[in-house]
Subunit: 204 residues, 2 copies
Amino acid sequence: MPEDINEKHRQRMERINEIKDRQLASATEEKGLIIVHTGSGKGKSTAAFGMAMRSLGQGMKVGIVQFIKGAIATGEAAMIEKLSEQGFPIEMHTMGEGFTWKTQDRERDIATAMRGWQKATELIRDPSFDLIILDELNIATKYEYIPVDLVVDELLDKREMLHVVVTGRNADEQLLEVADLASEMKVIKHPYSKGIKPQPGVEF
Amino acid sequence: MPEDINEKHRQRMERINEIKDRQLASATEEKGLIIVHTGSGKGKSTAAFGMAMRSLGQGMKVGIVQFIKGAIATGEAAMIEKLSEQGFPIEMHTMGEGFTWKTQDRERDIATAMRGWQKATELIRDPSFDLIILDELNIATKYEYIPVDLVVDELLDKREMLHVVVTGRNADEQLLEVADLASEMKVIKHPYSKGIKPQPGVEF
């Protein structure tokens, strides 16, 4: 049994190295990107939402799995719903209602997260999608509700032209290894703001 | 004549100070905000576009005047067009085709910019709008194609509940004075990027 696990790990590392070599070589091609938005600053999900809007503008089809509720702003979620209703090729699946975050209910939280991951793999393997956003997936892997190996393997296996965006704090090192683009949103300071109450549309 | 100009300036400064006092006092109210996105880093127009999308999600009406072409990404502009066609309450007016940027054609460029400003004041004074974006207006004021005093006066006079976002490098000091929120996008570094060719949806 341990040999199987070691062998799988060795193969994964080998594939990751192959990916990295290919990335260095193929900077002029168009290819589906693995993109990570991490860090403690604001804007991770919003940047992914912006990418979703631009993709729709470019005639692409977008799928979103929201692993934990809260990161996608009210106005953004409402807009996604309006767009779906109006026939734009975008769909969002929200998985984050059932988390207990209690140590004694860990099994239950793992089951909730894995239902989200099940939906994510459905979308990833559906050839009609051009962009998939896995929002706050990094939280689920950080808590080991979803094994990061599963995520990395799925991303390594994805169709060439599919873009996948993973958001959330504390992205796993392995995920950052396979990412083509990774952004860390860092809190530097809050310039100029005078304690203005957050307002609909402007901030959420 | 000089006395009139000085008197106008004095009144403007007085109004700016009143605004600043009110801002400090009224941080718990909901009010229409004057927002500025400036600096040399990327994301000024994209952040405004995100605000437009959230606002539409919140059932608000959005107007955009694009003073200089180029800042709004292809996918974003295409999305705005699709949304208009689908009956979403958003309209964009592009003014930036006619700039020559030649010193000998300065009069003409001023006329082009002022046509844009004319449209901007129309939208600002139209009570049906909730959010107005004046994209790259800062370029026009920096080059003094549009007198910044005109802009400041119009913003000081705006309806209480209207949000106005002004984007572009080198925002004028006076504009920053009257702003409720101002963000400076600074280039720090380009982490992790491996020279990947920019792709539709993802980057534009």
